[in-house]
Symmetry: C2
Subunit: 218 residues, 2 copies
């Protein structure tokens, strides 16, 4: 696959089939992930693949509780506004994201594979998320859909207990990636143009160019 | 460029020529970056391109001071051990990384471009580092070398002051990426094999397969 196709079309693909991910595909995804950089090349990362139905059955209720907290505490106003005026394009987009996230929560136990990322001594996340994103891009190259969520952090202790993560070694849960063969289509997700979120030389000073993206059209 | 070539060969390229990065290349890098996911698709990211010699001249001394703190406080034992026994392969590799990082510090002002990443309300880094890593992969596709450093965090207040980042809006400095045309060659960096850093279903339980990487050979 072309690099830019992967960079542009690896959108969140939460609705997936229950079909398992072949071992060879899992291997290629993991091997690509660990090529990412980490501070001092320390590779202070651990990955945990969850494929066992028993473990997924224990994580599912936790995830639904966490996502409920996300909706109630972080996104309540945004959702209320969107539901009050769903004809607005941004609102409609938000309601699509929310339905997609709810689908994942409701079907958590039927997703074939999860990849959990953990880090040690990494206050910024800069030594775990390049590897996690590489895993997601490599999955895209295999036709495997992914989505990234850190919602489990809202029940971190219980999540670590289910996964039997030791309490005394300092490993921090960074994120959970769902993986599966998508039911929907790949595409370029809408974004605020780059020149609206980029400054030049000092904060607040605009670029001397605009970027009429997406520059990759497929 | 092939996705896997980018994922496998985007190693830290700190030694770069002073030649400027053309505007069209900057545009493609930024446009690729913003296609990355972010929590709730909030895109709570800002990027700051530093190309002005005046700003680089103010950042250079700060960076050298920060990197000095990194060597003295975080990696002193590792460096001492490596210098005591440089014939060991891991030690030799570490000394190469250190020399490369020192090159960047000593030549900070001659690197043509820096991309600073900032985030808001992103405790894990999961909503900024996918975008930053996409920028680095897109740069690789353009033949532009990059390296990722968060060392400026050790002088965060002064860095934000130089960049004129407002104190009251909550934007957090996440990282600095150096960009330039490399003097060295691209290649696959050494890594601990994926099966040694990946568990299955619960912490401490090994995968039922090994991964004899790199699986992408070029």
């Amino acid at each position: 696959m072309d690099l830019h196709e992967a960079l542009y079309t690896t959108r969140a693909m939460r609705r997936v089939k229950p079909d398992p991910i072949p071992v060879e595909v899992q291997q290629r995804i993991l091997d690509a992930a660990i090529r990412a950089p980490s501070g001092g090349n320390a590779q202070n990362w651990r990955f945990l693949l969850v494929e066992s139905q028993e473990v997924k059955d224990r994580l599912g209720p936790l995830y639904r509780r966490c996502l409920g907290m996300v909706w109630d505490n972080i996104y309540k106003d945004k959702t209320d506004a969107a539901e009050a005026n769903p004809a607005d394009a941004d609102h409609a987009q938000w309601l699509r994201v929310k339905r997609s996230a709810d689908w994942l929560a409701e079907n958590f136990e039927s997703v074939p594979l999860y990849l959990m990322g953990f880090c040690l001594g990494d206050p910024t996340g800069g030594s775990i998320f390049p590897a996690v994103w590489s895993a997601m891009l490599a999955a895209r190259g295999e036709g495997v859909g992914t989505s990234l969520t850190s919602a489990f952090m809202l029940a971190a202790d219980e999540t670590l207990e289910v996964l039997e993560v030791p309490q005394d070694e300092g490993w921090i849960f960074a994120c959970c990636v769902s993986l599966g063969y998508p039911t929907g289509r790949w595409g370029v997700a809408p974004r605020t143009p780059a020149h609206e979120v980029t400054f030049k030389d000092r904060w607040g000073q605009g670029l001397d160019f605009e970027i009429d993206g997406p520059l990759w059209k497929g």
